[in-house]
């Protein structure tokens, strides 16, 4: 009973869904990276894949929506309200390169649990459980930065999921990984997805997008060109840019 307040903090007390960007514009060094983009994440269960060539503005859009960057124009809302630090643990983020604290694997998870307001007594147990689910319990005491790239990224995903986020942004989480590690990551994503976590995924791996995505957002030159169910996108892309991107041609 004594944990009730903290659990409610982790639970449904303050939702962030949907995460909405309205007319987002972001410029850097006179270049417009994102150009009046409207995007909405977390409305439906499942994985939304964000596809498009490098420089399309996919990562920047994720960072704007997660509150890591401030848009030059437009606004981001989490469940209709401005982003705030208290709800930050409701949004997970896995970067292309995992950022590990210089501590053991389990201490990395305990740290984010502390940041999310989980009571000290419960952290160790929750962290162990999270590692066990991902079959990483045997490396619990290993310094996180001496793990292999694949293990680090799995740990990064487990860490992002440990605070029970409602939406997780995955920014090319498997672009540096071998097929085995990629499969392990996809397996973790599928399991969390089936448990109700929503995902937004940037990937250059079309196989991965086909395996995971329910919807596809196609971006090109800082704009969203398509936003369709995955089947439709892969069978009959609606724009010539998307069609040639899928065919593996260079998109201009």
């Amino acid at each position: 009973m004594q944990y009730a307040p903290a659990q409610s903090k982790l639970g449904a007390a303050s939702s962030v869904l949907p995460v909405v960007g309205r007319s987002l514009t972001y410029k850097r060094d006179m270049r417009t990276i994102i150009d009046h983009v409207d995007a909405k994440f977390g409305c439906s269960r499942g994985v939304v894949a964000v596809l498009g060539p490098n420089g399309a503005g996919k990562s920047v859009m994720f960072r704007l929506l997660a509150g890591l960057l401030t848009p030059d124009c437009g606004s981001v809302t989490w469940a209709g309200l401005e982003p705030d630090r208290l709800r930050a643990h409701k949004i997970g983020f896995v970067f292309q390169r995992p950022v590990m604290l210089r501590r053991s694997a389990i201490a990395n998870i305990v740290y984010v649990l502390a940041a999310a307001g989980v009571p000290a007594k419960m952290r160790d147990e929750v962290a162990r459980h999270a590692l066990e689910q991902a079959r990483l319990l045997d490396i619990a005491k290993t310094p996180a930065r001496s793990l292999s790239g694949g293990e680090q990224q799995r740990l990064a995903l487990v860490r992002a999921l440990a605070t029970q986020p409602e939406l997780v942004f995955l920014d090319e989480p498997t672009s540096n990984l071998d097929p085995g590690s990629t499969a392990a990551i996809e397996c973790l994503v599928q399991r969390a997805r089936d448990a109700g976590t929503r995902f937004a995924l940037i990937t250059q791996d079309m196989g991965q997008a086909r395996r995971l995505a329910a919807e596809v957002i196609f971006m090109h030159r800082g704009r969203i060109l398509e936003c369709t169910p995955a089947e439709t996108f892969f069978c009959a892309p609606g724009t010539p840019e998307a069609a040639s991107y899928l065919e593996g041609k260079i998109v201009f």
Binding site: G67, R85, L86, F95, L101, Y111, V112, S146
Partner: protein
């Protein structure tokens, strides 16, 4: 050649027999320099970290200034502290000139910029690495700084040891404000200077060997700390 051999033999005898004069001098040196390092750490670590994460006007100037202070000549620091603490100086009433306290003050002034500058560099580099991850977790500025200090603990130990190395080996400042008074303010470096000029080479050499060993150990710890702070695959 005979003299040199004799000096070495006597020096090792002094060390081996734990000569009381030798022990007293080494003890005072360690006490003064370790206290100076503690003070430098208390001031330099948080200040350096705040400069690293803070965004304020004059930040670049502050960094340049602190970096320049890293090269402060010990004798100049000694002179300034002497002027502060001498009877006619503003702090003359404290009557602490020619005491270990004065030496601690001088060494702390000498090495605080070193600790501060190295801390600033360490924390700033770590901030680049961790900034997005910590912000996505909703950490506030103070929590971020605390995390970065802990993440940089190995490098910050390096900074403190660098300060200690400078303090224990420095002679100019402690000589001026301490005065090399027997049994009161005689440190390894001032004793070496004095005994050498007096011709008692064996005591000077014995102290020199201990000083070298301390410097070696400090550097070995620095290297070990560095090695363990780096991921094994890089």
């Amino acid at each position: 050649m005979q003299d040199l051999t004799h000096a070495f033999t006597t020096a090792f005898q002094l060390i081996g027999s734990l000569d009381p004069v030798l022990i007293e001098i080494v003890g005072l040196s360690l006490k003064v320099s370790l206290t100076a390092v503690a003070i430098a750490g208390l001031i330099g670590l948080p200040t350096g970290a705040l400069i690293a994460v803070g965004r304020f006007r004059g930040r670049t100037a502050a960094i340049t200034f602190i970096n320049a202070l890293m090269g402060l000549p010990a004798v100049v620091v000694g002179l300034l502290v002497y002027m502060l603490l001498s009877n006619s100086g503003p702090l003359g009433a404290l009557q602490i000139l020619y005491t270990p306290t004065a030496m601690i003050i001088a060494q702390a002034i000498l090495i605080t910029p070193i600790v501060m500058a190295l801390t600033r560099q360490t924390i700033e580099d770590l901030k680049v690495e961790y900034d997005e991850q910590l912000r996505v977790l909703g950490r506030g500025a103070l929590q971020q700084t605390a995390t970065l200090i802990w993440e940089g603990r190995h490098s910050l130990l390096t900074a403190l040891l660098a300060g200690f190395g400078r303090a224990i080996a420095e002679v100019g400042a402690v000589l001026i404000v301490g005065g090399n008074i027997n049994h009161v303010t005689r440190t390894m470096t001032t004793a070496i200077a004095l005994e050498t000029s007096k011709g008692d080479l064996s005591l000077a050499l014995g102290l020199g060997i201990i000083l070298l060993t301390l410097a070696f150990v400090a550097n070995a710890i620095v290297m070990a700390a560095r090695a363990s702070s780096q991921p094994s695959y890089v």
